[in-house]
């Protein structure tokens, strides 16, 4: 707002010499009911009479606040149910994030130590001759990815996870519970590396025993830098197999047993993808150590594996066909668990569909597991491949299915 020079203000104070208008005239002036001539007379007086201006200002009617009911909106959060629901949802989200962070923090510390140790051991191992017997039969990257497995699944109890995971592996090793073989041509590549030892290479990034159908975690990240990861689980197994040795020795022996091919050195961080499951059940892959993530659509590629499965299933054929239709109509299955080892990925989805990829997620095959006509029920909530041939998955209905031939045949425990 412009300012007046002081001299103007001073000269403006020249007072009125005319008679004050009466209350009638001032009222009529304020209500704009004076004729123009009379209004201008009153205005001239007001221009020079501060007292009448003050009376006029004081006599102004009070501003009536116009209430517009149409504009009065009730906030949606004012409803008690929504308000409390929002608070409860916020608490759940915060608690979930806290639990995930806490578990990641607990799981990262020992893994990080082992990781550093593993890197040192890996350097030593790389100088040694390869102990792998079938390196020549498989592509270098396949060997590298299947040499060590990093399996992730959802869990609620870490202790149960340890026990069950270890137990399942031993059972798988013993092989008495193997079901009748179910050929899965799509995963035959796994068999090209049969010599990979299971002992020290299995890694449980997350537990495998679900205590409830809907796990608390919503997003799980998988680091499939297989050769660089060593978990307490593998150490536990080493301790069991070599009770007489010190923990340090166990680790060394475990890594000595681990088939670390010469080609492992050629695997860079950029070539090894990391995987994560989004809260929406989608699958994401990162080639830059988690900086950027790429959505990996899992098209329901009912490949040869499915065909072979159908041929074997007999009674389960109809169900599998139906599910295949469902998958094809819904191109984005709800992924619940994933196991990644280099470029070989196992993913379990809601509805019990098992997906498999041997090329880092570019191509997928799907299958519904069945044994003697009994289909897998529920959602696959945990997949665990300690090595390239032995695997275990757990469903939301607490069924446990295992394989001892790289996923070609599965049996229910």
């Amino acid at each position: 707002m412009q300012q007046l020079p002081q001299i103007v203000k001073v000269r403006l104070q020249q007072t009125a010499r005319s008679e004050h208008p009466d209350a009638d005239a001032l009222t009529a002036f304020a209500e704009r009911s004076l004729p123009n001539l009379e209004r201008s007379v009153v205005m001239e007086h007001l221009a020079r009479c501060g007292e009448c201006r003050e009376v006029l200002a004081l006599a102004l009617p009070e501003i009536e606040e116009v209430v517009m009911p149409a504009l009065v909106r009730r906030p949606w959060l004012s409803m008690p149910a929504l308000r409390w629901g929002a608070i409860a949802a916020s608490l759940i989200v915060v608690l979930s994030v806290g639990i995930v962070r806490y578990r990641q923090g607990r799981g990262t510390a020992p893994r990080t130590a082992a990781l550093m140790q593993g890197r040192r051991e890996l350097t030593v191992n790389n100088r040694q001759p390869a102990v792998h017997t079938t390196d020549a039969q498989v592509p270098a990257n396949a060997v590298a990815t299947s040499a060590l497995r990093n399996t992730i699944a959802r869990t609620d109890a870490k202790k149960d996870r340890k026990t069950n995971s270890g137990g399942s592996i031993r059972n798988a090793d013993g092989g008495p519970r193997l079901a009748r073989p179910l050929p899965l041509p799509g995963v035959n590549a796994l068999n090209s590396a049969p010599g990979l030892s299971a002992a020290g290479a299995s890694v449980f990034a997350q537990g495998a025993q679900p205590s409830s159908p809907m796990p608390a975690q919503t997003t799980v990240e998988v680091a499939s830098a297989s050769a660089l990861v060593q978990t307490e689980q593998s150490q536990l197994e080493v301790q069991q197999s070599l009770p007489g040795q010190s923990p340090e020795d166990h680790a060394v022996v475990a890594r000595a047993k681990a088939p670390v091919p010469q080609s492992m050195g050629a695997l860079t961080a950029a070539s090894i993808p990391r995987w994560t499951i989004t809260s929406a059940g989608g699958l994401q892959r990162s080639y830059d150590q988690g900086k950027t993530w790429q959505d990996i659509p899992i098209a329901a590629a009912s490949g040869p594996a499915s065909a072979a499965l159908q041929a074997e299933l007999g009674a389960g054929y109809a169900r599998h066909a139906t599910l295949s239709k469902k998958q094809s109509s819904n191109p984005s299955p709800l992924i619940r668990a994933i196991s990644a080892s280099g470029l070989e990925i196992w993913a379990g989805a809601a509805g019990g569909v098992l997906y498999h990829s041997v090329d880092g997620g570019d191509h997928w095959t799907s299958a519904i597991l069945s044994e003697a006509g009994n289909l897998l029920t529920g959602d696959i909530v945990s997949i665990d491949f300690p090595d390239s041939v032995h695997g275990k998955l757990v469903t939301s209905t607490l069924e446990t299915w295992i394989t001892a031939d790289g996923g070609q045949h599965w049996s229910r425990q």
């Binding site: 707002m1 412009q2 300012q3 007046l4 020079p5 002081q6 001299i7 103007v8 203000k9 001073v10 000269r11 403006l12 104070q13 007072t15 009466d22 209350a23 009638d24 005239a25 001032l26 009222t27 009529a28 304020a30 209500e31 704009r32 009911s33 004076l34 004729p35 201008s40 205005m43 001239e44 007001l46 221009a47 020079r48 009479c49 501060g50 007292e51 201006r53 003050e54 009376v55 006029l56 200002a57 004081l58 006599a59 102004l60 009617p61 009070e62």
Partner: protein, 316 residues
Amino acid sequence: MSNPNQNCAVQSVVEELRAELLAKSECEKFGLTSESFAAILISVGEKYATPATSESELKTFFLALRVDDLALARACAAGNNPAWEVFLTRFREKLYQSALRIARQDTGARELADTLYADLYGTTLRDGQRISKLNSYSGRGSLEGWLRTVLAQEYVNRYRRTKRFVSLEEESEGGIQFRAPEPEPEPVADNRLALATDEALAFLPGEDRTVLSAYFLDGRTLAEIARMLGVHESTISRKIDRLAKSLRKQIIAGLVRRGMARRQAEEALDVDVRDLAIDIRRSLAQESLPSTFSKRSADTSVQAGTEAGSKVGLNP
């Protein structure tokens, strides 16, 4: 208004509009006869009319009257109880609310409203008749607006009386009256600035000057001025900006015409702002020419900077 011709003109117009005005006023409800209310209308018209007022203007005047409020007010002034009941029902609460808004405190508002009620009822007698302030209501505006205006006038008068009393008391306590009078400011040898300013202000229309005074002298807000004049707030804002710029230009032009260089004129306008230590708000309280005492107090308050305005001497 003593012109018989004008009286005749008013009477004829009242007679012409009598039926319509009586129907609008519903004066019979308050015990006013047709003749008595016609006499009231004639007295109001004679007060308004001038020799230059035409018959059509008179008709417009009468048709614009708030005859219903006029009938109620005059019936109350005449002591009609049903009229008073209606009056109190309609205006008692509003009157108090207006008083509270004006006085800004409950005690002062009650006192203000009670004083007005006494005046409206007519506590003083003349020739055995109560003198009611409602007799001065002519119906040119609403009765409610008139009551607010009367309240405001009463408040301003009372405020001035109180201020004058407090001012004298405070000055005595502070020993100001014993202080040597401040030296009178040296008369400005070059009064071209004042002349140029007066010249520029003299050409201002009344509304523009009212706006400037209300904003810069009274400290009214744009919204208040807009409501006072019945225009939009943005209009007032634009008008103030425009007037301030144009006044500055005109004053500088006036100074240049009086032989001052343009730069010198601009400097004079600006230097004057720094040199003139005049408290505008306190000076505004002076309605007429200041006396020696009030001049001294005004100057004293100016020197004191932000001291309370109660130290300003006021004339009755």
